[in-house]
Structures are given as C-alpha cells and as structure tokens.
Symmetry: C2
Subunit: 414 residues, 2 copies
C-alpha cells in the first residue's frame, strides 16, 4: 500500500498576528492519522492571493486541505483565488442558493447580495454541503491530486470533514481500514507504564502499532492496526487488550476519549449513589469538573469549599484542636472533612482535599505539592497522601483528577 | 521605515501527528506584533533533514525562528542540519558545558555522553544562554538574514525570546518602538462596543491603530502606535485613553493582560474585605477561578456548592417555600443564597448564582441560559438576571465572569 500524504493549510490574518491559535491543523492531523494519511506539513498563511496561489501551485502532497477564508466579506478570497488557479469561472450553485434562502428565511431575513455570493463556487469543484453554516466546502481533483477547501470555523470544519471529506477520501484514495483502540490511564508515569508492559509490547504482532500519548497525570495508550475490516481487526486486538488490561488494570479509567469526571458520573448513576465534595486547595475545581457533565445533578448534591480554617471548623465541623495539632493539611483534618460533608449533605460518598497548592505556604515537612485526599462512605473513610509538583495550576488539576480516581476505584469495589 | 518580516517554524513529529497543538507560533506572532515584526507564515514540519533543509534554503523573510528539535536524543536533528546547511562544524561551547555540568551536579548527576552533546553548537552561531533548560538557543546571521533556533518547550522558548532574542532583534533590525495599550472590557458585544466608540474611533490620529480582540463575554481593545520612544507615545495616547474610558468605563475591568479574577482579588485585598460564594449552576467554577490566583486565601473564605435543592434548603437555609413558589432559578432564591452564605461563612461579600446551564432543564418561561446572580454585603443585596446561550460550557463560564464583574463594580463603589 502506498502512503497517502497531506498538507494542512489554515488561511487567516487573525492567526498570523497571533490573535488566535490554529487548532484546526491538530484536529485534522489526528483524524488523518486514524485514516492512515500522513500529514507532512502544516502551514498558516495570510488572506492574500499571493500566499494562497503559492501554496496551491507548489502542492507536494497528494492532498491539500485549506481551511478558512470562505466568509462573505471582502477579506475572504480563498474561493476567488482557487477559481483563478484552476482558470475556471465562479458559478451559482443552485442547491446551495436554495439552502441559503431557507437558512435566512428561518431567521426571518432575506438574502442580501453578500449572502448570495456565498452560493457561488468555481465551476470545476464538487460542492460539499454545509448544514452547519453558510459557506459550502469544495473538493477539487486534478492530475491525481486533491484540494479540499473548508470553512475555518472549527465546528463547521469538523462536521464537514466527518460527513463529507473523510468518506470521499476513503473511496478516492482507497485508504486502508485502520482500527484504533485507546486506553486511558491515570496516576502512572509514562516510563513506569512502559516498564510494566515491556514484555507485552515486545510481543506485539508487527502489524499492531502502540503509541504513548501523555498529558498531565494521564497517559493514553493507542493501539493501531491496518486491516481489511473492523471484525478482523477486533479479533486480533481483543486478546491483546485482555492481556494489556491484566497488567495495568489498576490505572485504566476509560477508553476512546472518556473523561475521568464522566466515568465517575456514569458509575454513580449506575449504582444510584450521590456525591458531596469538601475542597480546600482545589477551591471548587472538583465540583466544576463534575458539573461540567450534563445531567450531573442526578448524582451530585453539592459541596463545601472550605478554603479558610474558620470554614473548616464552623461549617464543616472539623474540631479546631485537630487542626491545631495536625494542621489543615493532614490526614486527620481531611478525614473529618470527608466524613462530615457526607453527613451534612446527606450523600453516599464524600470526597475531601486539603493541600498546599503553592507557590507559598510550603515548609520543610510539608513542601508545596503536599496534598491529602479522603473518601468517605458508610463503609468508612480511606485517605491518600500525594506529593505533587512546585506548580499551583498543576497541583490543583492533579489533586482533582486523583481524587476523582480514588472515588472511581471505590465505586468499582462496591 | 521598512517592514521586517518573519517566519515561525515549529519542528516536531508530535505536532504533525496531531498529538499536540503548536502554541509557540501564536505566542511568537503576538510578541512580534508588539515589536512591529510581521509574521508572514507559520510552518510545522517533521524532524527530518529534508524538511528542515527545505525551510532554511527557501527563507523568504528577514527572520526565521525555528523552535524544537534540540533535545539530546537521536530524533532531534535541528542543530546538525543547521551545521550542514552553513557548512560549519559542531564545536563544544565551553560556557554551555560548564553550565550543564553545574546543572547536573545540582541534581546529583554527572554528565553523560548524551548530555555533553547538548553543549555542541555550529561554529558560526552566537549562543543564546538558556537558564531554564539544557539546550542553548542559537542565533545565525548571514546575508542580512537571521535564523534563530530555540528549544520547543514553551517555557524555555518564551524565556529565551524575552531575555535574548527580542533585545537582539531590536538592535539588529533597529525595529521601531511600538507602544501598546490594551483595555479589557466585559459584558458588551463587539458590535455594541464599536457603535459606542464610533466617533472616537473615527477621530483617532492616523498613527494610532485600534484592534478589537473578542473572546467569550469579553472584548479587548488594543491601541498601537509606532513611535521613537515610550514618553512620546504615552503623551499622545494618554488623552485618547481618557476619552475612551469616559465612553465605556462601565465595561472596562482591567488593562494589559489583567484577569477578572485577579482584579477582583486585588480589590478585595486592598479594601481588606472577604468573600464567600454560593454556586448552583456554576458548580464550583467561581471558587476555582478565585483560587487560581496565588494568595487568594487572604480574601476568600470559601463557599457552598448548592447543586441540589436539598443543599440549598438544609445547608444554605433557603426557605423551602421560596423554592416551591419561585423555583430554584429565581431572584428570590438567589437572594437568600447570597445573604445566607455571607452570614454562614462570616464574609463581607457573598455572591450567588443559580441558573439553567443546559442542555436539559429549560422551559418556555425559563429557557436554557437563564441565570440569576446575587451579591450581598452589609449594604444589602443586589440581583441581576442574565439571558445567556444554549451551550452548557459557555453558560458556566459567562455566569462566572459576570458574577465576578458584579462584585468588581460593587467594590469600586464602596
């Protein structure tokens, strides 16, 4: 099988002046990777005819994906430049005109001149219908090379890629079927994970590729396999996954894009249990993560952000002599916090966090990054000490996801 | 004055496979904009000699900034490729070798062979000392063109740019002095802002450029002026700013990179006041924003996340008949929430939020995006109704920053 290559080109002055970050290229590259298409280069260029012409004239890859520059205003010139490049006129695409008329009618507006120009496309293109915005996408093929032009708005670009471009690419380039399976781990470093699965990794069939994808506190493991169809791939990968999970089951919280806050929410929902939080150094971040999931009101009662010791004592009823004796960042304090929030908010589970996020507040015995977690339920309270980083932002994020993971493990046991 | 042009090139396969987003280019472009250097193109390329050679051979701009590919491992080849391109040997840079020896000694490790190669640089470069990592930066100048090579780690890149590259660029290209002043507004749409300041904008001297930089719920206004020095620029811009602030003072919460949570924190600190929060639909996000600022324990006591009605009633003491009669999302409920959290947590100010974040839970009378805010202090309670968007994530963010802005305005009055 030959390797299909691509270049991603984002068009727009707002990128070049540093006003926004180009996130389209990363998304496209990630999707193309799953498809077996190699992105050789990413480019961000200005909304000028010269810049766009230069890119299309010097196409070195099988596929060129242009995003941006398709708006109705004067500064958007991608369409005109492509028509010029292909030496073809712009013509009104009747189906798009009809779609736009309906679109604006639904918004109680009639089409103005500017909107109408959005229905014009170079005569030689295949129109990619855009149901999520006004500008249609365009597909050009000439001399075995393909140019695709899409709107730059990430939502529209992603929808058009999924519905129109990727299916067309599959058939045009007869790309191989590539099967992917991703396991999400938490709480183990990339290098430790690599040691744990070394023998398994060395024993992988040559066709199966393994990628380590690390982020803060988490590592994703992605298995990829080029195959004729899904069933064949799954039959090969399934027993490998079983083996892999045996080795690292303790650290795997989900698959294929799962978020830890979503996995915990699903478990609570399934087991019909409720949760309350008592947060000190995370300052509300755990509550925020949990409630970022739609429908979380079904299992999340609420929580106390006990940032000051007074709130810990008066609202959370942590005995003041416990704080005096052991400190606010201690196993004893955090245990009272989780037990009491559970009871005060009539919840099945209570999680509590107290730590030194930094940059100030550290001591020799309790340096910045020292965090205590506690989890309470009718079965009692378990605690865990974390030694994190010197960085406030990282400590808040790590303490939050590790607290959620502690709850996840407990939910699996119950 | 001639325009100085630049190309930003990020090197690394992890970008091309879509594993990470290139954020270096955006940062560089934004810094160059302040310097009056125009970024004409951004490129992301692979860690291959071909790709790097092609870019340096075809340099079309005055300046080429390469980031990435300077690590000690075999896949990092930027340095070797540049030496080859300039036809110059790699030599050990003694000062860097000394720095690395000290660096590793401090970590109780001695230099291995791999680390030592990090002290090698092409003979024709000027070394840019890197105090924040191991790989030094490099500056090449030939035929009036400049190539700069920097580590790809964002923190190291930014430090080297600020300390080494930008001062050298100023003197090498004798870039003009560009004065920037940014006002941050909140709670007014870009188009409404444009109408409010239309006459003022039309009356701006030609030398002063105005840019609108919108983000969710906020718009930054940036005034730029090319000048011989800071004083001249400030003398011209100052009276313009006074006029501008008169027109939009209600919406301006800060300047030059200020965050709303930081501005509110500084005001609380200055006025020696404390804060408590009662959050329903924002689920802890306001607490999280406030405590993201180091030192927030000086003014933030804590809060209650009253996600369920039971918590609103039992922990926050909102009368159950008020919730029955007016609903949890109502002026009455949110007023009780802010008044009571203020009292319960012995704080000078209490802010409360209750709303329908979505996607579910909306009705005809209270659609998704309906949010009530309340702010209590010894002076009483003020409330505000927001009608936001159909999107959960946006509603949570908008409700949070608008609640902080309500507090900011009250703090300015007191």
């Amino acid at each position: 099988l030959t390797q299909i290559t691509a270049t991603s080109v984002t068009i727009g002055d707002e990128i070049l002046i540093g006003q926004i970050t180009d996130t389209n290229s990363q998304w496209i590259a990630s999707e193309f990777g799953k498809l077996g298409v190699t992105v050789e280069m990413m480019l961000s260029i200005s909304d000028t005819e010269n810049a766009i012409q230069s890119v299309v004239k010097n196409q070195t890859t099988d596929l060129l994906v242009l995003t941006g520059g398709l708006g109705p205003t004067k500064d958007d010139i991608t369409k005109h430049t492509l028509a010029k490049f292909f030496n073809t006129p712009l013509v009104v695409h009747q189906e798009t005109l009809q779609r736009l008329t309906t679109y604006y009618a639904a918004r109680k507006r009639s089409l103005n001149e500017l909107n109408e120009t959005q229905a014009q496309v170079p005569q030689n293109c295949i129109v990619l219908k855009n149901d999520f915005g006004t500008a249609p996408g365009m597909w050009f093929q000439e001399n075995e090379k393909v140019i695709v032009s899409l709107p730059g708005v990430p939502l529209e670009m992603k929808k058009l890629m999924g519905i129109q471009v990727i299916p067309k690419l599959r058939s045009y380039f007869s790309t191989p079927y590539i099967y992917h399976k991703t396991l999400h781990t938490i709480g183990i470093a990339e290098s430790d994970l690599a040691i744990k699965i070394k023998d398994w990794e060395n024993g992988l069939p040559k066709a199966v590729k393994l990628a380590y994808l690390p982020s803060l506190g988490m590592v994703r493991l992605r298995l990829s396999l080029q195959s004729s169809n899904r069933e064949t791939a799954e039959n090969l990968v399934q027993p490998l996954l079983v083996e892999l999970k045996k080795l690292i089951n303790h650290y795997v919280y989900g698959e294929d894009g799962d978020l830890i806050e979503q996995v915990v929410g699903e478990l609570l929902l399934k087991k019909n249990k409720t949760l309350a939080t008592a947060e000190s150094c995370t300052g509300g971040n755990i509550g925020q993560l949990i409630t970022s999931i739609a429908g979380s009101s079904q299992y999340f009662n609420g929580g106390l952000i006990s940032y000051s010791n007074e709130v810990k004592i008066k609202s959370l009823h942590v005995p003041s002599d416990v704080i005096d004796k052991y400190g606010a960042v201690s196993e004893q304090t955090v245990s009272f916090m989780s037990t009491n929030v559970c009871e005060l908010l009539h919840s099945d589970y209570g999680i509590a966090v107290s730590g030194i996020a930094g940059p100030g507040g550290g001591t020799d015995i309790k340096p910045v990054g020292t965090v205590w977690l506690a989890l309470s339920s009718e079965k009692g309270t378990i605690t865990k000490k974390l030694v994190l980083t010197p960085h406030r932002e990282k400590n808040i994020r790590l303490a939050s996801i590790y607290a959620l993971d502690l709850l996840r493990k407990q939910l699996l046991k119950s």
